[in-house]
Amino acid sequence: MKPLLVAVLCLFSAGTFAAKVTLSPDNWNDPAGKECVSCHTKSSAGIAGQWKGSAHAKAGVNCMDCHKASVDDPDAITHEGQTIATVVSPKDCGRCHTHEEQQQRGSVHAEAVAVIKERMPAMVTNVAGPAIEAAGCAQCHGSTVKLMANGKLDPNTWPNSGIGRINPDGSRGSCSSCHGRHSFSKAQAREPQACVRCHSGPDSPDKEVYEASKHGMAFATNRDQMNLHGETWVAGKDYTAAPTCATCHMGAAGKLPSTHDVGMRNAWNLNTPVSERQHLVVFKDGGKRELPESMKAPKRGSRVSRMDGSLGEVKMVATPQRRRQAMTLVCRECHGKDFADAFMKQFDGVVQLYNEKFGKPAQAIMQELYSQKKLSPTPFDEPIEFTYWELWHDEGARARHGASMASPNHAWWEGMYVVGRNFYSRFLPQLREVAGADADAMIERHLGSLQQHAWIKAPNKSSPLLGVGRPWNTDE
């Protein structure tokens, strides 16, 4: 089983650990690029200095190697007599970093715009306004970079380093999202800090979760032993002090190869109203998509629609079990099998608890309110819509993320506790307001059969929890 798994993972990852660029150096060091440095050292000393200290500079990769463009490119401009483009896309990076580009293609990062396509209009137009799209949503998920007829990049879509940015050349993603320009440091991307710009805050508090976990604690204490600048960075071999975000979600560990498909090792989708384990379908041309476990895994060679609607030929499918096994291989560099499996069991337990007790009934109740026209179809014009949205998108996600990465505080107080509080003290009262006389029947229909909600029907079961009824709280 395990050799097969590793073989499958190798196929995903194409290269092995820390894919080195194997191209001949003839492919870079464009003579035209040598001209740029003198002026840019003066005009933009910051980026010139970052580049000078980079692995690119040491290898002789210069400005033009990344920025050169052909006059037909939609974003080509003439600059100092050269034809260049400001936006460097994964396609450009992929000229040399072939494996990484291929791996990130179709990943949850590269498809980050598609992930919120349905949600964004209501968020942007109803809750906020267009200005927030450029400065908020798109800065993490990515903008669709547009060119103005005067050749300039549309300021509504640029600057942007969103991870799923749709580039003028059609490629998706932004390598500089993690490998900040212009040093493009490996070490920087291995730091948990690389992920914080987006993976923080109420809806995906991964920074907070990680920092509150033992993993984060070990990293903070042993940062100097992390070998962050190492040429290779295999967990258990090049470093053992702590895992970072990159370790578990991307890094090489033991026999497990590294990957730039950041979601590959995730069995669940956690940022959804109800979580479901997901197959990862890999298409023949390297594209990918996820399919819920409840759907039968498509056969190799069959044709399945992609995220953009077009059909693709299936090359392979990684089942949720396979993906979980891959993640567990990382755990195994420090933890025993039973330990890792039991941890996953605790995590899965929280996801299932959220799903069954809150996620599914709340979703069904909302669907019923809409279909019975007790709510207008417009999102966010009724208070219960905010409550429901936050239930899964904020506290619901916090609970699930907290459990997935071992922050007890986020799993419970910041997560499931808030889910429970808001479900019982906001969602249900608001439901009663909206549904009026039908509310009781509706609640009974959706919660009545769930043992976990039975306690609300037992109003006489007292508890000292609220500080009432214990000797030390009575007046002396």
Binding site: T41, I77, A149, N150, G151
Partner: protein
């Protein structure tokens, strides 16, 4: 025998010749004054914008740093677009006559749509003119050796990195509506922009241009 009064003059300097010389000289001076005044007047914003098509070009100019510099040193149309020196200036105005010809007999450049459609070609030829002349009209005011700038290395860039380059190579799109460089200009997006800016049916700009 007494000598004639102007014995030292050659014989061919007759009274008529003297009159002709004086009148000719005065006419010459008058002509030069006329040229100077003519060039001066025809270089002015008031003259240039007496054609409506040029009013359209002047709109962005009036918001630019060349129109409203903190120093108050305003560059007028001719300061940039007419060569220094009376003969060169006259020649430029002579050549500029073809623009007048086109204004009268060519496309309707007074129409903002037509004007915007043709603007890139105008920009390209103006830039080429600057390049050909080593940006000599920029140098009327801007002395490369004297450029210091506000940022630390502006001076060094203009001394060391601008070698072999002329002002217009780097400094385009300062005054008029922004147009990409000729090499990377794409007609289709420009036409689309014209369509959307003037609320035209998609494809109208392309059709107008073909006519």
């Amino acid at each position: 025998m007494s000598r004639p009064q102007y014995w030292w003059l050659p014989d061919f300097i007759t009274r008529h010749v003297v009159i002709a010389l004086v009148l000719g000289g005065l006419a010459g001076i008058g002509f030069m004054v006329f040229l100077i005044e003519f060039d001066h007047y025809t270089s002015s914003e008031a003259f240039c914008t007496s054609c409506h098509s040029m009013v359209l070009a002047a709109e962005p100019y009036r918001e630019s740093a060349h129109y409203l510099p903190v120093s108050g040193v305003r560059a007028s149309c001719g300061d940039c677009h007419v060569s220094p020196g009376v003969f060169a200036a006259t020649w430029d105005h002579f050549l500029g006559g073809k623009d007048l010809f086109r204004q009268i007999f060519g496309a309707d450049y007074d129409d903002p749509v037509v004007n915007t459609l043709h603007l890139p070609d105008a920009a390209f030829s103006a830039r080429e003119w600057f390049r050909r002349n080593d940006s000599h009209t920029c140098r009327r005011c801007h002395v490369q050796d004297a450029i210091v700038g506000k940022r630390a290395d502006t001076r060094a860039i203009h001394q060391e990195d601008a070698k072999g380059k002329t002002c217009i190579d780097c400094h385009i799109n300062l005054v008029h509506r922004k147009v990409p460089s000729q090499a990377t200009f794409k007609r289709e997006p420009w036409n689309r922009m014209v369509d959307s800016e003037f609320g035209l049916e998609p494809g109208t700009a392309a059709k107008m241009l073909a006519e």
